[in-house]
């Protein structure tokens, strides 16, 4: 029996979380004596997934699958799930995967758990741990249905290489016409997105105005990081909503989160709780963020950040 993973591509390239999904599925498959099948659309180098333990790669190359469409994609994935006699589907936590997760749960009559952060445990049926209450708690959930869908939270398992012999198949799915016509796509950034970034640099009201954001951007550039902001900053219109991190904005589960001039309201801290390492730079030593951070600098961002940029430049040049 195969565990199916949906490996998302962007312009033909696998998104980074595909490797984590594959690593997670391989680990589970080895334990349960199963195999791993991946489904992807228009991947330019599908066999890349064989480095992460995927045994079979279904790569459907079709112009009609070029852009994401929830109806079309979920139909193809559901067909693949049935063709592969699969019982477990693993999705990422990207916008697109979350979009189709609910649809697939109904189609496949599957119990669907999002924000999964653990490997399944079989000691009491089939259960996993997930994040809940915006990272303020963990929840252990049992899946009661025969089929299951796990939405894996980013960075919760890690990427593990497992070179495997794999077969690549191009399958033509029966594609119905799309209900949504995409008229245009506006990319806010040509750089890494918050969802994909290993490092996120985030600014708050302590930066005093949008004109000072070059500091955040410069710091992000040198780290290859995405930029983000606190809720007041997006409410004030200094930065777009898509950068707002927190309970009503985006969750961030990066390796490193650097908060500049953000005091750390409970809703913001919840949103970044699943990031591994947190750094706070703030003038107020009483700011709640210091209680949630791993490293802190009490100081004025306007002095600290330029110095940090300099130090990172030195670090990068001596490490390259």
């Amino acid at each position: 029996m195969a565990i199916l993973i949906f490996a998302e591509t962007y312009n033909g390239e696998f998104k980074k979380d595909c490797y984590e999904l594959a690593s997670y599925a391989y680990d589970l498959a080895s334990e349960k004596n199963m195999s791993v099948t991946a489904i992807c659309f228009n991947a330019s180098n599908p066999s890349e997934l064989s480095n992460f333990g995927v045994n079979k790669i279904i790569n459907s190359s079709n112009e009609e699958l070029k852009d994401f469409d929830a109806t079309i994609y979920s139909n193809c994935i559901s067909d693949a799930f049935e063709n592969e006699n699969s019982k477990i589907l693993i999705l990422s936590s990207s916008s697109n995967s979350k979009y189709i997760g609910g649809i697939l749960a109904i189609k496949l009559k599957a119990g669907y758990i999002t924000n999964v952060i653990s490997k399944p445990s079989f000691s009491n049926g089939f259960s996993v741990t997930r994040n809940t209450f915006t990272n303020k708690a963990y929840e252990k959930v049992n899946i009661l249905s025969e089929n299951s869908i796990l939405g894996l939270s980013k960075n919760s398992f890690g990427i593990k290489e497992n070179s495997t012999k794999s077969e690549v198949k191009d399958i033509k799915f029966n594609i119905k016409s799309a209900l949504n016509k995409v008229t245009s796509i506006e990319k806010m950034t040509t750089k890494v997105t918050i969802a994909d970034a290993d490092i996120v640099v985030s600014g708050g009201r302590g930066l005093k105005g949008p004109e000072n954001w070059h500091m955040v951007e410069d710091l992000a550039d040198i780290l290859g990081a995405a930029t983000a902001c606190s809720k007041p900053v997006s409410d004030l219109g200094w930065r777009p909503h898509s950068e707002h991190v927190g309970q009503t904005g985006k969750p961030v589960s990066s390796n490193l989160y650097i908060a500049i001039g953000i005091s750390g309201a409970i809703q913001h801290l919840a949103g970044v709780n699943s990031s591994k390492i947190k750094v706070v730079i703030n003038t107020d030593p009483e700011a709640p963020f210091f209680k949630a951070a791993d490293y802190g600098i009490v100081g004025d961002a306007f002095e600290v950040v330029p110095k940090l940029i300099e130090e990172l430049k030195n670090f990068k040049s001596s490490n390259n």
Binding site: G102, I106, T114, T132, K140, I185, T248, D300, E311
Partner: protein
């Protein structure tokens, strides 16, 4: 045009989260409940449709009697009628099925749900309703306009937005952007008085079996103490991030 807005009754965003009954249930004791923020953006957008395009706005909730205060608030803000399916929401698929049943019997043109509730963060109910009713769906919707039966909407994608043209009927998973924070309405006295006279229909649920069962909640371990670095020794931070945290 008939609009249905799905409403979750959730703890206020500042709530301290605790569990009870041997850590198997959320402790509602002392908790202030609010309209789920993602739903409230959608509700406000629906009321704009009502005011500008002459739509009717119904709200629906799956919950026990305690959620009626939240439903009355939606009526005070401007919804016309509330429906409560009398069931404790424990499984998203059962919530979706209960709402889908109501939609299948009471045709709506536009169904607005929040992209996710801020309590359990399942984020799956709108997609499930779409699959159950065969109604087209746009998730993470941040803008929706209607003109001559054509819907122009935008959805947030990772790193940007996608503009979509489609038709009705439609389900959206809404969030901030549908309206802004300062567009949200506080019920006024007249609204509150009127809400008392509006219909709040309570329906008994059809029984569906759960696909999931939560058996334990846990809170994260308290965080260790922060390592403070002097602003004169920033090189130390770089060193720690590289050698100790292995983050750069």
């Amino acid at each position: 045009m008939k609009i249905l807005v799905c409403i979750s009754h959730v703890p206020d965003t500042t709530s301290k989260i605790n569990f009870t009954n041997n850590n198997s249930e959320f402790d509602k004791n002392g908790i202030q409940f609010i309209i789920n923020p993602n739903d409230e953006f959608g509700l406000t957008r629906a009321i704009w449709f009502k005011e500008k395009n002459g739509a009717s706005v119904d709200v629906i909730n799956v919950g026990l009697q305690d959620t009626e205060t939240t439903l009355r608030k939606t009526l005070a803000i401007g919804a016309d009628k509330a429906i409560r399916i009398n069931l404790e929401p424990k499984d998203s698929s059962v919530v979706a099925k209960s709402i889908a049943d109501y939609i299948n019997e009471n045709n709506y043109d536009l169904i607005i749900a929040g992209r996710e509730s801020i309590d359990y963060n399942g984020g799956m109910v709108p997609g499930m309703i779409s699959a159950l009713t065969n109604i087209n769906f746009i998730d993470k919707c941040i803008n929706i306009e209607l003109k001559d039966g054509v819907v122009n909407a935008s959805r947030e994608i990772d790193g940007g937005k996608e503009n979509i043209s489609t038709g009705l009927p439609l389900i959206i998973g809404g969030q901030k952007g549908l309206v802004e924070e300062n567009d949200l309405r506080i019920p006024n006295m007249r609204g509150i008085m009127m809400a008392r006279k509006k219909e709040l229909l309570v329906l008994e649920p059809t029984e569906y079996s759960n696909t999931l069962e939560t058996y334990n909640f846990e809170k994260p371990e308290p965080k260790g103490k922060v390592t403070l670095i002097s602003s004169d020794e920033i090189e130390k931070l770089v060193d720690l991030l590289h050698n100790e945290a292995k983050a750069i």
